[in-house]
Symmetry: C2
Subunit: 480 residues, 2 copies
């Protein structure tokens, strides 16, 4: 029992100290830990397995959307990074530089990619000649490096894992459509697979990607009310391709500009999974993303027939394509329960001598703690239903939390009061000026613009700060 207690005590309560609760989960569930390479993470098996499942789900959606995977180099020559002026301005302060290769000091230094727009454009410049070569809809799964000063597991680290999609199109319409399509792919993956409800919108000028014409974003709300930018999709117009001299011969035999997009989603969403769904017992993983959907825990396993029956159940579930494990170690059942809860495994299956007598098992749901007796004969069907119900219940719960924590403000006094008293987002009108945006953030102690809502626009309404005519409805919130 002492070990059992220790495991449970190791976690700070979520409401007591959210930041500490978060790092406790990361540590106790063995998701990742800090490497001796400063600001970089070791992604441990439990954490990486979550990323693998996110990758599998998202990559399948990419392929349905006509995306091909590629891989471009890790290193970018300095001269290449400098070709687009806004881009270099945005990224130069935070890249790492390779100045020596083997024994030789390099004539031109290389940076480790912070993102790969420049490499894609450099390649496209060589291979795109005619409209027949377009569109190019490419993606790569890789890691990038940005020399961050402060880091937090999954949320901000110098090196992080992500995917970066890059596309090139004959027309701006097609490129804009692709920008929105890929944001929707993220939206579907996060809401349907990760059970994370989202706000979808466009970034303001000051928040958009370095070099982009427009950045679209999906924003999730963590349990402390803060926003986490969970995926972005950028429309570049032709400025970026033009800087790299990408031109193609169109159907009318005219030399024409091409239009670019890029879009990325990173291991940051593992942070979102933790902070949207986790509780005081640890991680809670949605079944579609959980590396293990169910774990069989034998009760009184030393008694005759218990382990044999438990293994029989595992075999049946494996045959039915469940991701199933068994814990037949010598730890106590209570300790095993605590571990399963910490890891966020969506269900556990308890089976003891009495259950065997009754031809049943007890399924315990991680999300509600409900104990459900299920006949062994119908276990695969019942487990399937329960997992589906957990998936949709987790989304519903999180969606209610999100909806309950979006407040409308019509005056700046009201907004400041909400910012002080409530956790969550504030919806308020904005005139579009950089100055108002900066002042709002400063005077609400951190409520920055998360995104401009595109499906709602103000009609004869005023900017919450300057009272001039409002152009946009904006979601404001604190972020990490």
């Amino acid at each position: 029992m002492s070990n059992e207690k220790k495991l449970v005590q190791a976690i700070t309560s979520r409401n007591e100290d959210f930041a500490k609760w978060y790092t406790d989960i990361v540590k106790e569930a063995k998701l990742c830990d800090y490497s001796n390479t400063k600001g970089c993470l070791n992604y441990l098996p439990n954490g990486y397995a979550i990323w693998e499942n996110i990758q599998n789900n998202l990559d399948k959606r990419f392929k349905e959307a006509g995306v091909s995977n590629v891989y471009l180099p890790l290193l970018i020559p300095e001269s290449l990074l400098q070709k687009e002026k806004d881009h270099i301005k945005g990224f130069a302060p935070e890249v790492a530089w390779v100045t020596q290769g083997g024994e030789e000091k390099l004539e031109e230094k290389y940076c480790i990619r912070p993102t790969s727009e420049t490499l894609f454009c450099d390649l496209w410049q060589k291979i795109v000649k005619s409209y027949r070569d377009l569109p190019l809809v490419w993606n790569q799964w890789n890691s990038v490096l940005r020399w961050e000063k402060t880091t937090r597991p999954f949320l901000r680290s110098r090196e992080f894992l992500w995917q970066e999609g890059h596309t090139l199109h004959a027309t701006s319409e097609e490129a804009i459509e692709r920008t929105r399509q890929m944001l929707n792919v993220y939206y579907d993956c996060l809401t349907q697979d990760l059970a994370i409800p989202l706000i979808k919108g466009r970034k303001t000028e000051s928040e958009k990607f370095a070099g982009a014409e427009a950045t679209y974003t999906i924003e999730a709300m963590m349990h402390d009310g803060k926003a986490l930018q969970s995926g972005t999709s950028h429309y570049f117009g032709s400025t970026f391709p033009d800087s790299f001299n990408i031109k193609y011969i169109d159907k009318n035999n005219q030399l024409s500009s091409a239009y670019e997009t890029s879009w990325g989603l990173s291991t940051r969403v593992i942070g979102a999974l933790i902070m949207v769904h986790g509780d005081d017992n640890g991680l809670v993983l949605p079944p579609k993303i959980a590396p293990t959907e169910t774990i069989v825990i034998p009760i009184a396993q030393f008694k005759e027939g218990v382990l044999a029956k438990a293994h029989e159940i595992v075999a049946t579930l494996q045959k039915n394509n469940f991701r199933v494990k068994i814990d037949e170690s010598e730890k106590s059942p209570g300790f095993k329960f605590a571990e399963q809860e910490m890891l966020g495994i969506p269900t556990r299956i308890e089976i003891g001598p009495k259950d065997i007598e009754n031809d049943q098992v007890i399924i315990v749901r991680r999300d509600t703690n409900e104990k459900i007796p299920v006949k062994i004969a119908s276990l695969p069907q019942e487990l399937s239903k329960i997992l589906e119900d957990i998936q949709s219940n987790m989304y519903k719960t999180a969606k209610k939390f999100l909806d309950d924590h979006i407040y409308k403000a019509t005056t700046f006094t009201e907004m400041k009061k909400l910012a002080q008293e409530k956790i969550g987002f504030i919806k308020a009108n904005w005139c579009g000026s950089n100055e108002c945006e900066t002042n709002i953030k400063a005077e609400t102690t951190g409520f920055g613009s998360r995104c401009i809502l595109e499906e709602e626009t103000p009609h004869n309404e005023k900017c919450i700060y300057c009272n001039k005519e409002a152009k946009y409805k904006v979601i404001w919130g604190k972020s990490y």
Copy 2:
């Protein structure tokens, strides 16, 4: 017709100039091309899709062998790389160094990982305390960088994609067993999925990995008779872990050393796929690895009903889980055939008005060029059989080529003659001395030791070079 001719003419004949034939295929099949980052490749969709399928097949085998995936940092602090003396000696001359991060000049420089033994050991030192923490059987899919001077697509480039597995064990026996097990996993994947026959063995002292006690290898023979090292598995003993002060408390409460292995397979095997199976019409891909198993090519597609029927067939095949494409572009059928052959798609399905009348299609095998009429009603079953037959036929053909090109030599005069007159490997006895090994390679113009055969040992036989007692039967060959 001019385009068609151009596509076919673009390839040098394999027997005329093997090296040129190889680079022609890489280029014409659009597998990869050189980036402006010197010595690094852009992996294009066609090349990367092959790598993805290799990854999927191998990763599945890894998981069956109890391997967990992880991800460790890209950068290694200089002090960490230096902890094992043989290792730093082996790798220091070929690593790239990061000396600047953002605006700051770094106090300690970082190298970009050439391989990650040091990072794994550094992590294990922190987390391994008791025998209960062992074994650790981990792997990562990533890219590594070695500052090569000469490069060739897939065979040698500064940055390359691979997987590196790293394991830690309580006993040397268990570690040695794992070293061999993972070599066998490679062997099975290459022979069964890639249809590449192999020689399995152990590297000599001079050829083993920097810091390892023993390196095991699988060696494939390319169509020009040269050897390609296609995967290696290393046993480190406890030297490496000891250098990092990894110790654990064993079952008897004693502080004990741990035993390490590592094993890697890279995008190099794409080179092997090309050079083992390719022909004068282009790539030939084994069905299990081919991104597309079959492509439907409508004949006289402008005629009524042809395209509709072709799409119907595609739908049926997709429903039956085939990886299928259709080429309904305006190119001529001949041009489409040439493209399918260049890409190495294992089968094409021709369907024209006459075929439709007869309720049939023509399946054309890429490996034998055989044209097989198949009734539409039984297409999924027949295609399945044909693909299986292609897979096994490709292995048989390559195996016969390998067997036919291994020559036995009993005197050094004979060996020199074979080296001059034949392409392929030479099997000959060796005493085990470094001097003989070096002399053999020099005097045969390049026949180095590929591996020591472990299942055969000499009995009262002599070293082919010095005539002293032979310790090993060795496969000698030229390499890339």
